[in-house]
């Protein structure tokens, strides 16, 4: 006999009603769900669960695929060709990057395209795939922030989710795991709960589409009797012990700009470089330390919420294993890092002076120097995240992680230098 629904949202419900249902999230409203929690746990333990994981060609996705493979699960990775590289080749290269010999035997790569309603599969392949999978982990996402890319971001983060949810509905999927972001909370100060929130105000289109995607997933999963977990990581950086990462945006990008400017002048012929650097307001001391007068606006109470990828993976695994009833989980750092600290780390590690965090009220209006204008142009989209005043409540996730003995490391100088050493060793990901 099918189990009673543990949550139920009427198909026609409004956003307000949806939020009502979601506080607290996923109530048992007497409907039918596709699989009992015990069955799900049992299948996972006996390694009979087949996961479909999207976004495996990305940084988080490949780590998730690796984690599932290591745990012995069967994993199907839908992926498309890119830049004349076949899906298998792309994913194999990423597994090799992780130190594996290639894709593990329990991993199956399926050429597919989430941009298309039929996932780019023939009806027969679509049906075959739908009847194979038990759970879906949706990690594919467009993490761009810029408004002018809105159509592409909406397509990737919302429309493609519809395609996947439609597939889930037609499949035997009983659990949908959605990787969202802590910043789906939108523009706000103070505590952001582990719940769907009603807001129409966001710092960028990425936050907005992730918020809309959460709503969409919740509604459709309820309708279909599919359990849903929403995982909300904050800003993910490389591995806390090795610094290994694939992407050098977010935390890395502003630092990369500074290092780029410093090295540009340092690596050139000394005399010529000094003259040219002077025009930019950059000078060098005898030991090669660069003086770069840049004031960066910072909030004394805000900072950057950073988590390493290894923590994210461990947290995801623990939550997935424990939270079989569904829910929303913040995978964040209890210790938000003040921008002052990051600047200090940067100065120390890269031998740069002159960079200062300046409180907004003390930031001189007008007359920024050329270097400041340039730095601001390149890092504008990260400004909100560098002085973020959102506090992510992680009561639910925290309880699970605490029970499992998982904690997020403080982003200290040791980790910073590990990450930066790795970034330098791979030329910040620039193969050329």
């Amino acid at each position: 006999m099918p189990e009673k629904k543990i949550f139920c949202i009427p198909e026609t419900c409004s956003k307000k009603e949806l939020l009502g249902y979601a506080q607290p999230f996923f109530k048992n409203n007497g409907g039918e769900i596709r699989a009992a929690a015990d069955d799900i746990t049992g299948r996972r333990r006996s390694k009979k669960t087949c996961f479909l994981l999207t976004g495996a060609t990305g940084f988080l996705g490949i780590h998730l695929a690796d984690m599932l493979a290591k745990e012995g699960h069967t994993v199907i990775l839908p992926a498309r060709s890119w830049d004349n590289t076949a899906p298998e080749e792309r994913i194999n290269a990423l597994f090799k990057w992780l130190g594996r010999e290639g894709s593990p035997s329990c991993v199956q790569i399926v050429p597919a395209d989430l941009n298309r309603p039929d996932l780019g599969l023939s009806p027969a392949d679509y049906h075959r795939l739908a009847s194979s999978i038990d759970e879906i982990i949706h990690c594919a996402s467009d993490t761009s922030f810029s408004e002018r890319k809105r159509p592409q971001i909406e397509k990737a983060n919302v429309e493609n989710l519809h395609h996947l949810l439609e597939f889930a509905a037609k499949s035997r999927c009983c659990f949908f795991h959605f990787i969202s972001t802590a910043y789906a909370a939108g523009k706000k100060r103070g505590v952001c709960p582990e719940a769907l929130v009603d807001t129409r105000s966001f710092f960028n289109v990425y936050e907005e589409t992730k918020h809309r995607a959460e709503m969409t997933a919740a509604k459709r999963c309820n309708r279909e009797g599919i359990r849903l977990n929403i995982y909300r990581p904050s800003i993910v950086y490389g591995h806390s012990r090795t610094g290994k990462t694939l992407r050098f945006n977010a935390l890395y990008y502003p630092v990369k700009i500074l290092v780029f400017l410093k090295n540009l002048y340092l690596e050139k012929h000394r005399e010529q470089a000094l003259e040219s650097a002077e025009r930019m307001g950059i000078s060098f001391s005898a030991d090669g330390t660069a003086h770069m007068p840049i004031r960066i606006e910072a909030s004394p109470s805000g900072g950057i919420n950073l988590i390493p990828v290894d923590f994210f993976i461990a947290a995801f695994s623990a939550i997935m294993e424990t939270a079989t009833d569904g829910g929303i989980f913040h995978i964040t750092n209890d210790k938000t890092k003040p921008l002052f600290d990051i600047i200090h780390f940067t100065r120390k590690y890269f031998h740069i002076t002159g960079i200062q965090a300046v409180a907004a009220e003390n930031f001189p209006a007008g007359h920024p120097n050329s270097l400041e204008i340039l730095f601001n142009r390149y890092t504008e989209v990260y400004r909100h995240y560098m002085q973020d005043e959102r506090i992510f409540d992680n009561t639910r996730a925290g309880a699970i992680l605490k029970a499992k003995g998982i904690s997020c490391p403080d982003f200290d100088y040791r980790i910073f230098s590990t990450c930066m050493r790795y970034a330098e060793s791979v030329n910040w990901g620039n193969a050329s």
């Binding site: 761009s144 922030f145 810029s146 408004e147 002018r148 050098f248 945006n249 990008y253 990369k256 700009i257 780029f260 400017l261 540009l264 002048y265 050139k268 470089a273 040219s276 025009r279 930019m280 050329s370 270097l371 204008i373 340039l374 142009r377 390149y378 504008e380 989209v381 990260y382 030329n427 910040w428 990901g429 620039n430 050329s432």
Partner: protein, 620 residues
Amino acid sequence: MSNPLDHIPEEIRRTAAQCRHYAMCKIDYLETGLCPPAKKTPYVSYFPQGRMDLCDALAKDLIPVTGAAVDIISSCTLCGTCDRQCHFVTGMRPMTVMQALKAFLDAFLKKGGKAAVIPEDEPLKALKNIVGEKWATNDPAHLIAYANDPFPLADRQMPGYVVLPGSAEELVEIVRFADRTHIPAVVRGNGGSVFGFVFTPGIVIDVNRMKKIQLDPDNWTAVIDPGVTAFELQKAAAEQGYRVNTAEPAATVCGNIVCTGLFSTWANVYGVGADHIVDMTFVDRHGKVFTANDRNAPNVFGFEKAVHPSPGICLQARVRMHPVTDDEEGLLVPFTTLADAVSFAKDISRRRIGLAIGVLGGHYLSTFISPTQSLARQTRKIFSDILEMTYVVSIIGDRYARNSIRQMVPCVIDSSTFRMFLLGLPQLIGSDLADIVRGLESDRPAYETVFSQEMLPVLEEILTPSPGTLAAAVGEDLRDFYEELYSRPHMTDLVWLTMFRIVSARMSRHKHMFAFLIYIPLEPVDAIHELITCFSEIAEKHGIDHDLGFIAPLDLGKRGILEYDYYIDHTDSADCEKIRLAMTEVEPMVDKMSRSFKGITFLKYIFSQGCARKENFLYT
């Protein structure tokens, strides 16, 4: 086993067959001097272009080794001028062909080979009577250079005779002789011929000896002979502080006027068709001479949408010159979408801001500024994928125009930034800048950040622009030449480059270009999009490389001219078949579009009506 020098190696023949016939070796556009024998005896056969044809023909055994062939090959001094000239536009190195020809001839003569003697016939004698012994020939080594061009849909056709008149009187006599004897005759300038129009089994009249230019500053006009090329006229006018509106540098001005009418990005202010002409003198096919301004003469200023024969052979033209101010400079305005670029070009044309205006696609811009094909390919990728600079509007304007433009758009690439970019281009490819910009997240296109004032000193440091930096992109043996070449300020001056257009022949460096030119309305932009989409779809269907060339506004932005280009290997029969099939779809497509949108007119209907008033074909 045969002596390897007995024949021309296939690899060399293939190189020779790749000659695009753009005739850039026939003008001294790099101040290297012309091929020395060709300067003395300007049959096409003495120019590198003709020597390439000769090599191909000898290798294929199409013609015997004749007296002219011996003279043509022997006269080559292996000075290397052809290598420098040809490499600049096509990336090809004709010197290997010239060396192979010499080796071939040496082997032929050492083996006791005798040059074939081609007997004179009566028509040749008559032609020689008109122009003199030296300037008429029926030797296949000369004829072969007038027998074909890269146009893939026309077969090779050997003429019976080639004749080079030295004056209008001689030219008229040749036409009368041809009419009398019913020998077909065609005229060709010294310019590039790529549309298969100038072939005949009869007489080819080559006007390359008729190069007189008389400037008349009091009337802002120039009187020119039919052999004067665009480059030569522009140079003469520029030396006196004027400018003419001309087409491709190697093309003859008179030929261009009669054939398609002159158009360029300068057409925005100087017009097209009859706008350039004060008067022209023609000889019709019966040998009757008339001038365009004669009230009883055929009306060359009218237009009918039909394929017409030309009014005759132009003997002389009086064309307009235009004043130049000393504060003109070029600038580029980048855009991410074609619609925005066209809209801006139309807007400034309507406001009478700027002189030359052209919307350039990514292929044109990257190819124009890159000395090698490989650099062009990488540059284009950076421009479009990273800088998001998919289109640019290229503008020449005085300081008032430039100031206005700066107030209209958030980003301009001025002449000094352009120079920096051009001279530092190889450094851009290998720099970390691309990586930095790739990671840039902004609500504005990346080019706005990269070309911001604060970024310019950084760019300069990255690019380290200098003639030497740019020269590093070419082969080691050409570096000194390129370094010296790009030390000349005009080689990086957008005004000069736009006037003399010496880099535009680079657009077909990778493959022969098949250009479609269409007069268009600049609004609605949907018409342009639809036209481009149709061109693109046809090309894709047939597996043909293709790209938008340029769009230039005309007549205050109400109309414009669009070039869409297909690229094929003209020596590959499969490619030729592709273009043949595509052509059967292109022409009906454009005709259909012209019925749907007012102002769309295929240039093929202007052929031979190039003297027409623009109003007659733009608004009918």
